[in-house]
């Protein structure tokens, strides 16, 4: 190293007026670059679950006469009501995966998270970025479901889309899912993430009013009450209201209210969780 010259870059050139928003955007740019590198895997990850779901429940079952939800017209009804459930489950599942899984590496023993935690942003800003990043991927996952549910089922699917509701509800659902992903990722030790799926993701998805409207749980009152703690119930009920007519759904006002409450609550918990992990 004899003729090495390392200049200290000139400050005026490098740091100009900055804002947290711009830092968040650049961090999102980084996530997008990572996603592009693994685009094929991302698409497979996003498509597989809804594809299999729809294929088994709305194509295979009706064909082999194992109709879920009854025979004849009921089958068509089931295919229709399942659309909302599959969109909802894709949103929440992708957001949790997109946010919680990378944290295993970032919180690992090398503390790779510091690479991003040292960006000129408060820790809450980094939390917001992670939530947004998960939400964007979740929205993509939700949108991908539509062509699948329209073309795969053996029985016709009748959608009546309330656009305003759909356009507001999908991003809100995605953000709630992102906060859930960050809450899980920051509260559970990185080496136990596999456990997350057993004790959190599975109950959320199986008890999330995916296969049936929430109202139809009336014969099991204790279950009907207990699933109200599950954000996916509100997401699916809201989507059912936004995508179909004639299928019972929860009062839409409660749906929005509950989702906003979940976003604030889980957002607060996850920001605290991230701060605990990042700042010793």
């Amino acid at each position: 190293m004899h003729e090495m010259t390392i200049e200290v870059p000139n400050r005026e050139h490098t740091v100009s007026i900055y804002s947290y928003g711009r830092v968040i955007l650049s961090l999102l740019g980084r996530d997008l670059a990572v996603l592009k590198k693994t685009a094929v895997f991302f698409v497979i990850r996003v498509v597989m679950q809804p594809l299999l779901f729809v294929f088994i429940f709305t194509y295979v079952f009706p064909k082999i006469g194992q109709g879920v939800g009854g025979a004849g017209n009921k089958e068509a009804e089931f295919s229709t009501l399942l659309v909302a459930g599959v969109v909802g489950i894709s949103i929440i599942f992708q957001a949790i995966q997109a946010v919680a899984l990378p944290l295993v590496q970032e919180f690992g023993y090398t503390k790779e998270i510091e690479d991003r935690a040292l960006a000129p942003l408060p820790t809450w800003g980094l939390a917001v970025e992670k939530i947004l990043s998960g939400a964007i991927q979740a929205i993509f996952a939700g949108v991908v479901v539509f062509p699948i549910v329209l073309f795969v089922p053996a029985t016709p699917v009748h959608l009546h889309i309330h656009w305003l509701m759909l356009i507001t509800l999908v991003p809100l659902a995605a953000i709630v899912s992102g906060t859930l992903g960050l809450t899980i990722g920051t509260l559970i030790p990185p080496n136990q993430v596999a456990l997350i799926f057993a004790i959190i993701v599975l109950p959320i998805t199986f008890l999330g009013a995916v296969y049936y409207p929430w109202a139809s749980l009336t014969p099991i009152p204790w279950l009907k009450d207990i699933v109200l703690l599950n954000p996916l119930v509100y997401i699916n009920e809201g989507l059912r209201a936004g995508l179909t007519t004639g299928v019972p759904h929860m009062n839409v006002a409660y749906v929005y209210l509950a989702l906003v409450v979940f976003a604030v609550l889980l957002g607060t918990i996850s920001i605290r969780g991230l701060r605990k992990r990042v700042v010793g």
Binding site: I6, V8, V15, S16, Y18, Q105, E114, V279
Partner: protein, 322 residues
């Protein structure tokens, strides 16, 4: 306390900085100052509180009490602004493993508000300067320890921080990579970069640092240049000369030669003489010629000078090495 302090000449200042983990006081009311343009070495054994101190200065550890300012910015009150002022090279490899080598620099620049085009060109230039151009598109996992370290230094200085903070930068590096890193840090410092580094290697502190702050049990025990520390706290040096025959006359002769200088002791020692005092190296020729005059044959001559090791022993009563 004001959010900022006047900081014309000070890169880092800590005021009664303290961190307690449970019942363990990791850093104990630390008052420290790093002047702009200097390399300050925080020297101490493992567990002395060096890493915790570095962590607090760089917003990664929240102080229990006290203050730390970087470039005049209070790191606790304004962490986001403080992050603009600091470049960090942590002990472990915190490179973004989802990105390749050049992307690590490009996105770091983007986080710090550098425009796309400029971030791209700066990233290439930095790879060139740090001899990493050939690895630009490799995944960071493919880098050797020394290369990863250089990339982390490049990342840390990309946004022109007021201070570059390195935590035990050469532990785990092979000797060649260590020397290369020293060269890089000297070069950066020549161009005005202030550097704070923690180390438990005395030679690293001795070779590289303008000033050394010695820490143990969370407390700052002493600070100064290597020369000052050795002079003031290193204790005496000693010259041991072994001769054939009876050293009694030699002791008498040397005592007579040095006469008035009562600070230097001359002792008969195991087949020779031991001269203990400050700057005894200057007495080598006197000792040798005295022995020759007396017809004594010299078998061995050794000089033990004060070192940072003896400074540390004098300060703490124990050795620095684990």
């Amino acid at each position: 306390m004001n959010a900022s302090i006047s900081s014309d000449n000070v890169a880092v200042r800590t005021v009664k900085l303290r961190k307690i983990y449970g019942t363990n006081v990791a850093v104990d009311d630390l008052d420290m100052e790093l002047k702009k343009g200097e390399i300050l070495g925080l020297l101490g054994p493992n567990g002395a509180g060096k890493t915790t101190t570095g962590g607090m200065i760089t917003t990664r550890v929240l102080p229990t009490s006290g203050h730390a300012y970087v470039g005049g910015v209070d790191v606790v009150a304004h962490p986001a602004e403080a992050k603009l002022e600091i470049g960090v090279v942590p002990q472990s490899n915190t490179l973004d493993r989802s990105l390749n080598v050049i992307q690590n620099l490009y996105f770091h620049g983007r986080y710090f508000g550098i425009a796309k085009k400029q971030a791209r060109s700066m990233a290439s230039e930095l790879l060139e300067r740090f001899k990493l151009s050939d690895s630009a598109t490799l995944p960071v996992a493919a880098l050797s320890g020394g290369m990863a370290q250089r990339l982390m230094v490049a990342r840390a200085i990309m946004h022109s921080p007021t201070v570059l903070v390195l935590d035990e930068p050469t532990s785990g590096l092979d000797p060649q990579s260590r020397l290369a890193l020293w060269d890089i840090l000297r070069e950066l410092n020549r161009n005005g970069q202030s550097v704070l580094l923690t180390t438990h290697y005395m030679e690293e502190a001795d070779e590289l640092c303008d000033r050394i702050a010695i820490m143990d049990h969370g407390k700052l025990l002493a600070q100064g240049t290597s020369v000052e520390l050795k002079r003031d706290l290193g204790g005496t040096s000693s010259l041991l000369m072994k001769v054939g025959g009876d050293p009694t006359f030699l002791v008498e002769k040397l005592t007579a030669e040095l006469g008035a200088d009562s600070m230097t002791k001359i002792i008969s020692s195991d087949g020779g003489v031991k001269i203990v005092g400050h700057n005894v190296s200057q007495l080598i020729s006197v000792a040798v010629s005295s022995a020759e005059t007396l017809g004594l044959r010299i078998y061995d001559l050794s000089l033990v000078e004060p070192s940072l090791e003896t400074v540390f022993i004098n300060l703490t009563g124990k050795e620095l090495r684990d």
